[in-house]
């Protein structure tokens, strides 16, 4: 049985950010993930916003880690070569009453030291956000809000962590945790592992994992959020991320943009029971359209090209991040709802401190590879460079996905970097993510996956076993 200093349960943004941070130290580390690929949990379906920290009470963990995470994300994004775009957000007030609440938000945000805050008036909004509703009266402007691709963020953390020695076990579902002094024994669907420290970053299932270790003091309740993406042709719909005033449980229906340039509207916020219910609803669409049109009246349902739902793993109002003294060596990182994507790098630093304070010896490695090499997208670089690339490698000129112009080269690279499924390819390259939804490129992508990952065509899946794309391969003749 392999023995690790630290086992991290969960390969979402939190687990991989922690893994990457810990990989600076002389430790043997594993990330255990139940799905076929990383980022197939909550971290794949969210708004992709790196929040500035404008919507949290000053005393909360969420607030502090969000502001810190926003700052850290910039530096990490450079090191790991991921696009982070600072676009700024506007929280919009429509009447006197909302304006008063806006001032309270500003006060809280100032207490959290959110940088660059400013209340802007109607005239400013008219000039700087032309499609915003005429009813808008004023807004709180937070320039440090940004956007990032949430799944690529996970893959980049993971790739760099692996480069620095972290081991990743996918399709490894943790089923029990036993304490065998001085180690934990982790029983999984695949292998069993020994670990001195266990970090529970299992998202929606963090309560079950915690219970396995004997800590039963919280429950994860899923809160569904439905989101709707608009055609890239509408990229210029808004300049900033637009928010209404938040409600008690959510930030409200937003008008935002993904890092790939699609405007996005949503999310809803609905308490549900089933942790696997990722369905969108007619009602959800109605609510989202209503909320989004209040901010930007020109939004049109005909521009919707995709939609999805995500579940926020909530456990009360705040994050739970702590060493469980009752079970020494067991750490919970649970209830990581929004702004978990933003806070992840700050959570990772907090975990380092907690581990140090609880007896783990942490010595830095002599060599830590902090950079990750950037992959190229042909249409994101200057034509001369594109020409050079195609001449060097012909398959850059072999376009597979017509809507997003993804080449065979990029798909092969994605597979080499770990994509094992059609969704894995989509998340990494955007092939199938455009307006035709893979109607055109599916057969070619299946062939590439089958060739590169050496699997039969009928074995190609959307997102793991049970999601095979086709039912059978016919004998030809």
């Amino acid at each position: 049985m392999t023995r690790y200093d630290v086992a991290i349960i969960g390969g979402g943004v939190v687990g991989t950010a922690i893994g990457r941070e810990l990989s600076r130290y002389k430790l043997r580390i594993a990330i255990l993930e139940k799905e076929v690929e990383l980022a197939f949990g909550v971290s794949k379906s969210n708004s992709g916003i790196i929040h500035p920290g404008t919507q949290h009470s000053p005393g909360s963990l969420k607030g502090r880690l969000c502001v810190e995470g926003n700052l850290l994300t910039r530096k990490l994004a450079r090191e790991l070569s991921i696009d982070f775009k600072e676009v700024g957000e506007l929280i919009v007030a429509f009447n006197e009453d909302e304006y008063k609440r806006l001032l309270k938000l500003e006060k809280d945000a100032r207490a959290l030291v959110v940088p660059g805050l400013r209340i802007v008036d109607r005239a400013w909004l008219k000039k700087n956000e032309p499609n915003l509703s005429n009813e808008a009266m004023a807004a709180l402007y937070a320039p440090t809000a940004g956007i990032i691709s949430p799944y690529r963020w996970v893959y980049d953390f993971a790739e760099n962590a692996v480069r620095n020695g972290v081991e990743i076990h996918a399709e490894t579902k943790v089923e029990n945790i036993l304490f065998k002094k001085p180690d934990f024994e982790i029983i999984s669907s695949r292998d069993n592992f020994l670990a001195r420290y266990v970090i529970n970053a299992a998202g929606l299932y963090a309560d079950e994992i915690s219970a396995m270790a004997g800590v039963n003091n919280f429950k994860i309740r899923p809160r569904k959020g439905e989101e709707f993406l608009l055609d890239k042709k509408k990229e210029d719909l808004t300049r900033h991320l637009l928010f209404p005033l938040p409600s008690k449980t959510s930030k409200g229906i937003l008008v935002t943009r993904t890092s790939d340039g699609n405007p996005m509207i949503g999310p809803t916020a609905e308490e549900i029971e089933d942790k696997e219910d990722l369905s969108t609803t007619e009602d959800g669409l109605k609510k989202v359209l209503e909320g989004a049109k209040r901010l930007v009246p020109s939004i049109n349902a005909n521009d919707i090209i995709a939609y999805f739902a995500g579940l926020r793993p909530t456990a009360g109002d705040d994050f739970i991040i702590r060493h469980e003294d009752k079970v020494p060596g067991f750490l919970n990182v649970a209830g990581i709802q929004s702004p978990g994507l933003t806070a992840a790098p700050a959570i990772a630093l907090m975990i380092v401190e907690i581990l140090k304070n609880n007896g783990l010896e942490m010595k830095k490695k002599l060599v830590f590879h902090k950079h990750r090499k950037k992959e190229f997208h042909l249409f994101a670089i200057v034509p001369e460079k594109a020409k050079g690339l195609i001449q060097k490698d012909a398959s850059y000129g072999d376009i597979v996905c017509r809507c997003e112009m993804v080449s065979a080269k990029e798909v092969r690279e994605a597979i080499a970097r770990g994509a094992k499924t059609m969704d894995g390819i989509k998340f990494r390259t955007r092939a199938q993510a455009g307006r035709c939804h893979g109607s055109f490129c599916t057969p070619r992508l299946m062939k590439l996956l089958s060739e590169e990952a050496r699997m039969p065509l009928a074995g190609v899946t959307k997102r793991g076993p049970g999601s095979e794309i086709v039912k059978k391969e016919r004998a030809r003749g």
């Binding site: 042709k233 696997e276 990722l278 369905s279 969108t280 609803t281 007619e282 959800g284 669409l285 349902a301 005909n302 919707i304 090209i305 995709a306 939609y307 999805f308 042909l378 249409f379 034509p383 594109a386 020409k387 195609i390 001449q391 012909a394 398959s395 000129g397 072999d398 376009i399 017509r402 112009m405 307006r435 035709c436 939804h437 893979g438 109607s439 055109f440 599916t442 057969p443 299946m446 065509l457 009928a458 899946t461 959307k462 997102r463 793991g464 076993p465 049970g466 999601s467 095979e468 794309i469 086709v470 039912k471 059978k472 391969e473 016919r474 004998a475 030809r476």
Partner: protein, 314 residues
């Protein structure tokens, strides 16, 4: 940058008819660009008969229909055919950029004909809620998987939409030994040809529900079922009519949209393109029912482009 008299983008029936007509009208310097490995466009995957009755006076399969034009083009040395070539950029002055494995090229012809075909509308465009499991296909994709790749997309299908492609795919599924549980059509009657309703649906006893819509798609990894209900004139669900159909596949056949991204990129309004030497024909101009009319209309486009080129010279 290379100069040409005529460049045609798209080697389907529209593009092929256009280059041949342009040649017949005196143009000698012609480049035909096709992103696929072969000419023929959509016809390559339409292995059923139903083509050519108007134009050739005989009933052909898609590939047979295409082959007649491919042979003709091969016999004309003035027409240069560049396959595996993907047009990616167009500007208002007709400068076209295309990619080919190994190279990126720009060309500026005296006239340009866009014959890029159409794409299928998706489940997302008609906002069917539910989950996003494997097993949801556009009908054209399913057709390609079966007819060209030799793969069976599913065993028990519900088809949304009763246009010709949906009807033809219903029969195709049955012939492959799969089941078609239902065709669900929101309108009161089919958009497809009577001949297809009879030959593809009625002859096989496939239930077809008019004035019905799919409310929601279920299934985590693979499609498991859909809910269906009758609708009123406003397309709203009529209470008490909801039923569930178990299936592992949903085929979406809810219409085609002309593919015009390049012309939009160039900022040229389609109806004004002719003034700047940019012509559009075939399904990228409007969605046709019969390929025969695509051919005849595209021949006109080829002729018009030839006249444009000649008038520009003199």
């Amino acid at each position: 940058m290379v100069k040409r008299d005529l460049v045609v983008v798209g080697g389907g029936p529209a593009g092929m008819a256009a280059v041949i007509a342009a040649h017949e009208n005196g143009i000698r310097d012609i480049l035909l660009i096709e992103r696929d490995q072969y000419l023929g466009g959509l016809l390559n995957q339409c292995i059923h008969t139903g083509f050519g009755l108007d134009y050739f006076g005989e009933l052909l399969t898609g590939p047979e229909y295409a082959d007649r034009f491919i042979k003709k083009i091969r016999a004309i040395p003035d027409i240069e055919v560049s396959t595996r070539s993907f047009a990616v950029r167009l500007t208002g002055d007709r400068t076209l950029t295309y990619l080919k494995p190994g190279g990126i090229f720009t060309v500026r012809p005296k006239a340009l004909i866009m014959a890029t075909g159409c794409r299928e509308r998706t489940r997302e465009m008609i906002h069917i809620p539910g989950t996003r499991p494997a097993g949801i296909f556009s009908a054209g994709l399913a057709q390609r998987l079966i007819n060209i790749e030799g793969l069976l997309p599913g065993k028990e299908a519900v088809i949304i939409g009763s246009g010709d492609i949906g009807l033809i795919m219903a029969r195709r599924f049955i012939l492959e030994g799969a089941k078609v549980k239902a065709i669900v059509e929101i309108q009161a009657k089919t958009r497809g040809l009577t001949r297809n309703v009879v030959q593809c649906v009625e002859d096989f006893g496939i239930p077809i529900y008019f004035n019905h819509k799919v409310l929601k798609i279920y299934g985590k990894n693979r499609v498991e079922k859909v809910t269906v209900a009758e609708v009123d004139e406003g397309m709203n669900e009529i209470a008490g009519t909801r039923t569930t159909i178990e299936c592992d596949t949903v085929l979406v056949s809810v219409g085609l949209i002309p593919e015009n991204e390049l012309i939009e990129m160039a900022g040229v309004p389609i109806d004004k393109g002719m003034d700047s030497g940019i012509f559009v024909c075939g399904n990228s101009f409007k969605v046709y029912d019969y390929v025969d009319s695509v051919t005849s209309d595209s021949e006109k486009a080829g002729k018009l482009a030839a006249e444009y080129i000649k008038s520009a010279v003199s």
